[in-house]
Structures are given as structure tokens and as C-alpha cells.
């Protein structure tokens, strides 16, 4: 490129070739020993999930701690946790796209990848929860030999449809965004196997002017389709709980509560993996502290919505004058799982307030710690909503039937993080973790405002 973008802070100007080289360099190199060590550790953690599932298939659902009345325990808690992580990725890839937030270009590929991985992990949990996963296909409407159909009046079946539609659409959307980048990698590949694989993945993309016209239109349409899907999907999960007459669930605020909480937790996860990833993949000048700060600001906004809902729930419980509703919220604060409730409150209502300070928002360590706290808090939020509500339902005789995690519960929970790490690390070796074509269009096109927020001199901001 002979007309590269101007940059601030005296850094050398970026060229298209440099952008391609910077983003794809890890794809053409053998990984380091440290990467192998970390990947092995991630796989070892992932193995815990598969061992736990194998034991469950052999022994049955009794190996987990769920009981009566806590028949939704770790599996549904972790399911909703991972769904929430996925939702944040779609916020960045689709909703921010529709709002013309150009800065999202730096982080949309990595957060979309997070979505694709998280939704697959999330999908495992309800399949495990059914108790007999080998007949999970009964959830799908097909003309079976018993002439039976799923009950479409059940919110569980709504959830099957919502999750399936969302998962498939997210994966297609993610792949569609990758096609031009696969073409770029195809044309830079030296190894014939690399070239053949990326040629197949690029689907013969040539980058004609007319092709880009259709491509950009279709990309925008994916964003339009994904937005109601993601909002509808998490609202459906919320309705699934809200229509149950369990104290603590039976509330109309659940849909916006779940969606804002999901974005909040998902952005926390995005920060936790983006901060090390940008260093390990050498992408510091593309994913700058400015981008992380913007994610932190959205996270703070969603966190405040979550705080509002917490307060509103307590008000509604008091105002309802229902002894069971009031009892539920008192149980959360003072019961035998009060530590889970207070962990949630500390992380989600307390630690998040640190993001009001610019110094914290622009500190990598600060963002990392807040991100971890938000993830811990959001897992416990789902645990409090699901398990604690069921522990203290309308049947006082069941209140003492404590819910205790078994070793298999821990394995499946920790293993899900192992699967996430394994897939994320694998993805970072085979796909560009920043969208090459979108970034070039954003940074290099004449007339674009090219460095509005690269004030720290750390990298090339764009937005």
C-alpha cells in the first residue's frame, strides 16, 4: 500500500500487507513449547468433562448432586452461564454492527469465536440434563414410530428451538465473516495442504466488486437475523423459569434481567481472554486498551442494569406480601447457601463499581480482575436463581434437603472451562482472531476517521 493510514504517537503507518502479516503470522508458525504446555493443560481440564459424562452414561444421573426439590442444579446453572457468554459475542458481532460501532472490528472475530464455542458447550448441558442423552433426538419433531410429537406448549420445547436456531445461525454468521479472510490465508499459504484446506474453506472467494456488494448486504442481514434470535433465545430461557411457580422465579422482569446479565457476564469473559490473547498473538496494536475500555463501559452499563434488577426483585418480594416470596429472599441472605448469594452480590454489585474509575478501565490487570470477578459473580447468580430458589420452594418439608455438589459436578463444571480453553486455543491457530478484511476496510479506506482514540500511543485505534 502506498497510501497507508496516518497514525498518532509516531508509530509507523500500517499497510494492508502488514495487517495481514501481523494477524496471520501465528497461523504459519509452529506453536511454542509454552503454547503446547497450556494446550495440554486445557485438554486435561476438558477431559474432566468427558470422563464425568462417560461415568454418567454408565451409572446414570444419580452421580450428580441434584435431588428433590433441587432438580435443576449444576447442569442448568452452567448451561445458562455459557449461554450468557455466547450472548455477549453476538452483541459485539451483530448488535454493535447495527449501531455502526466501527471499533467492534478489533474484537468481533474473537468474541464471535467465543460465541460459537460457548454455545456448543452450553448445548451439552440440557442434553446431559435430560437423563438419557441417547434419546435426546426425541426433542425434535419427527414422524416417529409412536406417532408422538414434542409438546409445543412447553417452554422446554421452545428452548430447544430457540437454542438450535441461535446456535446454527451464530455458526453460519461466524463462518460467513471468515470467508474473505480464508481467501487471504489461502493466497499466502506456502504448504500445499494448508493451501488446499484454506481453499476449500474460502469457497473460491475472489473479491469482485459485485461479490462484495452481495457479501456486505448478506452480512448486515445476518446481523438483523441474529439480533432477534439472541434476544429471543435468552428471553425464552428466562420465560422458561418465569412461568414456573417457584418463589424467586415467578417474575416478569426475568427476560430483560437475563439478557442484560448475559451480556454483562459475557463481556467479562471476553476481557479475561482478550487481554492475554492480544499479547500472546501479537495483536496489541489492533486490540488496544481503548477497545477494552469500551467493552468495560458496556459491561458497567449492563452491570448497573443487573444491580437495578437485584434491588427490584427484593422490592417485588416485599411488596408481594407473599410469605414464600419474602421467605425465598430471606433464605438467600441468611440460609445455608448465603455465602453463594453474598459472593454474587460482592462481585456483581460491588467489584463492578471499580469500572467507574478510568484508571481501572485502562489497567489491564484491573480489567482482568474485574472480568474474573464478574464471571464468578454471574455463575453464582445463576446458581442462586436456580438452585437456591428450588431449595426453598412451596414445600417446607423439603427445605432441609440440601443440595451438595458431587465430584462429578465439579468435573463437569471445571471441564466445561477446559473445553472452552481448548477450542479457543485451537481456533487461534487456524483462524485469524481479528477480521482482516473488515479491519483493512476500516483502517485503510480513504476518508475514514482513522485514529480517533489511539491516544495512549499503544496501538492503532479505529472507530
Amino acid at each position: 500500500m502506498r497510501d497507508p493510514m496516518p497514525t498518532e504517537g509516531g508509530l509507523p503507518a500500517l499497510t494492508a500487507q502488514q495487517i495481514t502479516t501481523d494477524i496471520t503470522k501465528t497461523l504459519f508458525r509452529l506453536p511454542s513449547k509454552e503454547w503446547h504446555a497450556a494446550f495440554t493443560l486445557a485438554q486435561a481440564l476438558a477431559a474432566l468433562l468427558f470422563i464425568s459424562v462417560a461415568c454418567y452414561v454408565v451409572e446414570g444421573y444419580g452421580i450428580f448432586g441434584t435431588n428433590q426439590p433441587v432438580n435443576w442444579g449444576n447442569d442448568i446453572t452452567t448451561y445458562i452461564f455459557w449461554i450468557g457468554i455466547a450472548v455477549a459475542g453476538t452483541l459485539v458481532s451483530a448488535i454493535l454492527f447495527l449501531f455502526r460501532q466501527r471499533w467492534r472490528t478489533a474484537v468481533n472475530r474473537s468474541t464471535e469465536s467465543m460465541t460459537v464455542i460457548a454455545i456448543q458447550i452450553a448445548g451439552l448441558f440440557p442434553l446431559i440434563h435430560t437423563g438419557r442423552p441417547w434419546v435426546d433426538f426425541w426433542l425434535m419433531p419427527y414422524p416417529n414410530d409412536r406417532h408422538l410429537w414434542p409438546n409445543f406448549k412447553s417452554a422446554i420445547v421452545w428452548d430447544v428451538f430457540a437454542l438450535t436456531a441461535y446456535a446454527l445461525t451464530s455458526m453460519i454468521f461466524w463462518y460467513f465473516g471468515l470467508i474473505p479472510d480464508f481467501a487471504t490465508i489461502r493466497d499466502r499459504s506456502k504448504h500445499p495442504v494448508h493451501r488446499a484446506v484454506y481453499s476449500v474453506l474460502a469457497l473460491g472467494w475472489r473479491g469482485g466488486a459485485g461479490d462484495w456488494q452481495h457479501y456486505e448486504r448478506a452480512y448486515a442481514q445476518f446481523a438483523w437475523i441474529a439480533t432477534p434470535l439472541v434476544l429471543g433465545m435468552h428471553s425464552t430461557i428466562a420465560i422458561l423459569a418465569a412461568i414456573g411457580k417457584v418463589p424467586g422465579w415467578h417474575t416478569t422482569i426475568f427476560a430483560p434481567y437475563f439478557v442484560s446479565g448475559a451480556i454483562y457476564g459475557g463481556l467479562g469473559m471476553a476481557l479475561v481472554f482478550l487481554i492475554p490473547m492480544r499479547s500472546l498473538l501479537g495483536l496489541k496494536q489492533y486490540i488496544t486498551i481503548d477497545h477494552l475500555e469500551r467493552l468495560a463501559k458496556i459491561m458497567l452499563g449492563c452491570g448497573l442494569m443487573v444491580c437495578y434488577v437485584y434491588i427490584s426483585e427484593y422490592f417485588a418480594a416485599w411488596y408481594s406480601n407473599s410469605p414464600y416470596e419474602r421467605g425465598q429472599y430471606l433464605f438467600r441472605m441468611h440460609g445455608n447457601y448465603a455465602w453463594a448469594f453474598w459472593t454474587m452480590m460482592t462481585c456483581n454489585m460491588g467489584i463492578i463499581q471499580l469500572l467507574w474509575f478510568r484508571a481501572v478501565r485502562r489497567s489491564l490487570i484491573g480489567l482482568m480482575l474485574v472480568g474474573i470477578a464478574v464471571n464468578v459473580g454471574m455463575w453464582f447468580e445463576r446458581f442462586v436463581i436456580i438452585a437456591l430458589s428450588l431449595m426453598h420452594d412451596h414445600m417446607p418439608s423439603a427445605w432441609d434437603n440440601a443440595y451438595v455438589f458431587t465430584g462429578f459436578d465439579w468435573m463437569i463444571l471445571v471441564g466445561s472451562f477446559g473445553v472452552f480453553l481448548t477450542l479457543l486455543m485451537a481456533f487461534s491457530r487456524i483462524i485469524p482472531m481479528v477480521s482482516i478484511a473488515e479491519l483493512k476496510a476500516d483502517l485503510l479506506a480513504p476518508g475514514h476517521d482513522q485514529a480517533p482514540h489511539a491516544g495512549n500511543g499503544e496501538g492503532h485505534g479505529h472507530g
Binding site: 493466497d187 466488486a209 448486504r217
Partner: protein, 191 residues
């Protein structure tokens, strides 16, 4: 005949120079085709490419998907096996909205991908090679069809004169023997 040039490609490394050359090629009635490593806004207006109409069939398929979802719930819940749930109507359309909407949107997403692949002429092609690997990296390409063999030199000179860093002439033989090596120049020549 096999060596007869069918198109000439000019490779530009400058964004602004490429747009100026595209504008000049249209003005000089060269019927250019353009290939860029990333979307260049304003290029479609210069080349007279009409707005993509991919949205209309996708919207239609979303509506068809919605109707299929609604029909499926109506048929299964009130015709094939009427299920009495708490005395509620067999066909309670409000409860079927989630499934119908999700089905419609899923159909729309799948159709969006298939139609975009069709319009962008995408298909798994393991042997795809662009004539210049930098076309997908940092090089803008303008392809001009050659109508008469003698024109290729004139067009090459025209492209060089308008800032092309490199010029390449595509003979028909190369395109015929390995169409994936130079797919666009062939199309430019015929179309």
C-alpha cells in the same frame, strides 16, 4: 486462437489511484471489472453495480419459515395428536409464536447464506488460484476485456498510464486449460 488475449489486468497498490483508474475506465467505456482485498465503498457506484437485492428473497423465506413453523405446531398439536394441556385450546397460537418465529429466522439465516454463496459464486474449490496472490492482500485489480487481439497492448498501456503497478495479459489458452487460475478475465471477455 489459444494465445489470443482475452483480458488485461492492472494491479494497483494505491487505493486512491485504483478508484481514479476505475472511474476513467468507465468513462472510456472499457467495461472494467474490479477485484479488491476488502470492500471499497463507492466502487459499486463508479462501476454502476446495482444494490444487492438479496434481502427480498431472504425476507420471503423468513415468512415461509414462519408459516411452516406455525403449520407444524397447528398440525402436531391440534390435528395429528390433539393434546389437552390443562384444558387450554388445542391450537393456542400465542404459545406457538416462539417456535414459529425461531423457525422463520433459522430458515432466513440458512437462506441468507445459500443465496449469498450463489450471488458471490461461492463453492468449495480446492484448487482456486487467483492470478496474483496479492489480490486478496493489498492489491486492487482492474480487469479490462480485450475485444480485438491488437487492443491488448493499448489496454496495457492505458492501465500503466493510469497508475497500474503491474499489468498482466490473459491469453484464452491459459484460461481454457485452467479456468480456476484466471476465472474472472474469462468472464470479463465473455460478458
Amino acid at each position: 486462437m489459444g494465445d489470443q488475449p482475452i483480458s488485461v489486468a492492472g494491479y494497483f497498490h494505491s487505493h486512491a489511484g485504483f478508484l481514479a483508474a476505475a472511474r476513467a475506465a468507465v468513462a472510456d467505456k472499457h467495461q472494467p471489472q474490479a477485484f479488491t482485498p476488502y470492500p471499497v465503498h463507492g466502487l459499486d457506484a463508479i462501476l454502476g453495480i446495482k444494490r444487492s437485492l438479496i434481502g427480498r428473497p431472504v425476507l420471503g423465506i423468513i415468512l415461509i419459515g414462519f408459516c411452516i413453523g406455525l403449520h407444524m405446531t397447528w398440525y402436531t398439536m391440534s390435528q395429528s395428536w390433539p393434546l389437552n394441556v390443562g384444558g387450554k385450546p388445542y391450537f393456542a397460537w400465542q404459545t406457538f409464536m416462539v417456535v414459529s418465529l425461531e423457525t422463520g429466522l433459522l430458515f432466513g439465516a440458512l437462506a441468507n447464506f445459500v443465496l449469498a454463496a450463489h450471488f458471490c459464486r461461492l463453492f468449495p474449490a480446492p484448487f482456486t488460484r487467483l492470478p496474483n496472490p496479492r489480490m486478496s492482500d493489498d492489491t486492487f485489480t482492474l480487469v479490462l476485456p480485450v475485444r480485438l487481439a491488437a487492443d491488448s497492448e493499448l489496454l496495457s498501456a492505458w492501465l500503466s498510464g493510469h497508475g497500474a503497478a503491474e499489468v498482466e495479459v490473459f491469453p484464452a489458452a491459459a484460461a481454457a486449460s485452467a479456468p480456476e487460475h484466471a476465472p474472472e478475465p474469462v468472464e470479463a471477455a465473455h460478458g
